[in-house]
Point group: C2
Chain length 343, copies 2
């Protein structure tokens, strides 16, 4: 697959060739070249510039009903992204404007389809698109509403977050600190990531789940138990954190990346019974439910980023053809911060 934009007006797109049994590989997607879509009156043509690479994309590839329908075989891989208006038949979008929305893994899409999920939002000028996809995008919104609304983070809390060097996790820890958490512990997968969390983002401590005894380290770092565990990974780490919950502890279920590539049935957290003893609460959420409140969170994030209280990192991968590899980074732990594909 050439990664140069074609000379002819062609839309290159990656479609789902077959459902992956485990990690996404070469057989999962197929590159197609199709005509560039033609916007009708009320629509605008979008040249996709950046793709937001999120773990949830992997779940949409399964043949299972989730919070959105599965991607159809032969369908473009569903993905959020940012594009530029390159032709417009509507007053809503002007040529040159940047828009955010569900672009998919392709060069071109159409804005103004009038479909709630698919329709595009104009990006305020002056924001670097990869940052917009990170702290001001789904990632930052997920951290904000998950921690504050679902987790009800409170001053004095001992907060633990897994996937802590990822896009969402790294922001969760920093918001917890802003909200007065007494102790913020991140769980990540390399010494470099752990150092980044503590030295640059202000986490109190970081646990390397690949080399540390996570159970023992958490017991040491959180002697009074965990008031709030923000779970991005599921699996054994979720179970360990449930086992160390403090009285009235809360578990925010954001994702379960340790299980997304596992064929068959994953195991469940046996320590869920601690929710009874500790009067605990475990609650899931989907960020799509909060879209009407994004402005409130984006304002807060902008202020925190401006004051240097929230730092962020973007991990840029170039080329549409590399989108599958970029997605796999989330599961191998090859990224630090937000993974973005630049077309």
């Amino acid at each position: 697959m050439s990664d140069q934009p074609p000379a002819a007006p062609v839309n290159r797109r990656l479609v789902l060739a077959q459902r992956p049994a485990a990690m996404v590989d070469q057989s999962t997607v197929r590159l197609e070249e199709v005509p560039v879509p033609e916007p009708i009156p009320g629509q605008a043509l979008v040249r996709v510039r950046y793709l937001s690479i999120d773990p949830t994309i992997r779940t949409w590839m399964n043949d299972a009903v989730g919070y959105l329908p599965p991607i159809a075989i032969g369908g473009v891989i569903r993905c959020a992204g940012i594009g530029e208006i390159v032709a417009s038949h509507t007053e809503r979008f002007a040529v040159g404007e940047l828009v955010f929305g569900m672009t998919g893994w392709q060069d071109y899409t159409v804005a103004g389809q009038g479909d709630g999920v698919a329709d595009m939002q104009i990006l305020p000028p002056g924001i670097d698109p990869p940052i917009a996809l990170n702290v001001f995008g789904i990632t930052g919104m997920t951290a904000y509403f998950g921690l504050i609304d679902v987790g009800r983070v409170a001053a004095g809390d001992t907060v633990v977050v897994s996937g802590a060097a990822g896009a969402t996790g790294s922001v969760v820890g920093q918001i917890a600190r802003i909200k007065g958490a007494a102790t913020v512990v991140g769980i990540a997968g390399s010494p470099e990531k752990c150092a980044w969390l503590v030295d640059e983002l202000g986490f109190d401590a970081a646990v390397n789940y690949r080399t540390d005894d996570v159970k023992a380290r958490l017991r040491q770092l959180c002697p009074g138990g965990i008031d709030l565990y923000f779970d991005n990974v599921g699996g054994e780490i979720l179970d360990l954190c449930l086992g160390q919950l403090a009285m009235r502890g809360r578990v925010v279920l954001c994702g379960a990346i340790s299980t997304y590539n596992t064929p068959g049935r994953a195991s469940g957290p046996a320590n869920y019974r601690n929710l009874i003893t500790k009067r605990g609460r475990m609650e899931g959420f989907i960020i799509l439910d909060y879209t009407s409140r994004f402005p409130e969170a984006q304002l807060a994030m902008a202020s925190w980023v401006g004051e240097g209280k929230v730092q962020h990192k973007e991990h840029i991968v170039d080329g549409l053809a590399n989108a599958p590899d970029a997605l796999n980074l989330l599961f191998t732990g090859g990224n630090t911060g937000k993974v973005v594909v630049r077309l």
Copy 2:
């Protein structure tokens, strides 16, 4: 062990001889005969009359920190019960009054120890003690606060309860109906229990977990999913119900009787991930946190019992020596309704 009260003033008591690995058996407890306790000024002597047999007693026998410390080896088996004041050195208790509190598995105890857990409450006159231990006691309170406060039952809900023919479960289903649940489904372990739930208690349907395909039956009975699952049993049934949760469904974790006698580590509910997709909440509680609000719930229960909206059944077992067998009934499913030991 003779079950006749002794002629001499002796306190017969059952103490923990060794921690059970699975079901309680003859080696678990030991009968001791010790002098009747002598109340000091400020105290009263209580002749224990009824024991409330609850699944949680089994958890206190394990060497594990729970919401209360484990029963010590050689310690009297901890148990709620009702007794009669037979001697008093305090104005708080008059001879002949019935009192409720943590009596333990023994003939005599002392009221007025000034210890929050151990101290006795006077039972209002005119209430049959087994009923007081059932709908007006821990059992009824657990159903009331678990369903209303933790589960936030709402009109139109589809409610499923496991252990439905047990003391708590049978009341849960009836309160759900009173609160306007659209569908109330009970899960129980015999045709007789299922018939009792539907024919006498007004459940819409009952599923026999020993003979029915629970997953298929629930899918049929709850086509829109389960809004509220009240879990008394844990294990596979919890997992099945998580898998059929409706949008914003709630799981109230009351107990896990399917696991209390399981040596070693139980498995966890793999379908917990549905809490993310469905924006669900799973929350545990301990009824001891609600004692200050018992009067509110007891008033409601008294009214509902009076109007015939809440029916109840007590399963009476005679004799202190039979307390271990009475406890086992909860795990073998040998009871319908509240198990009470009469001394």
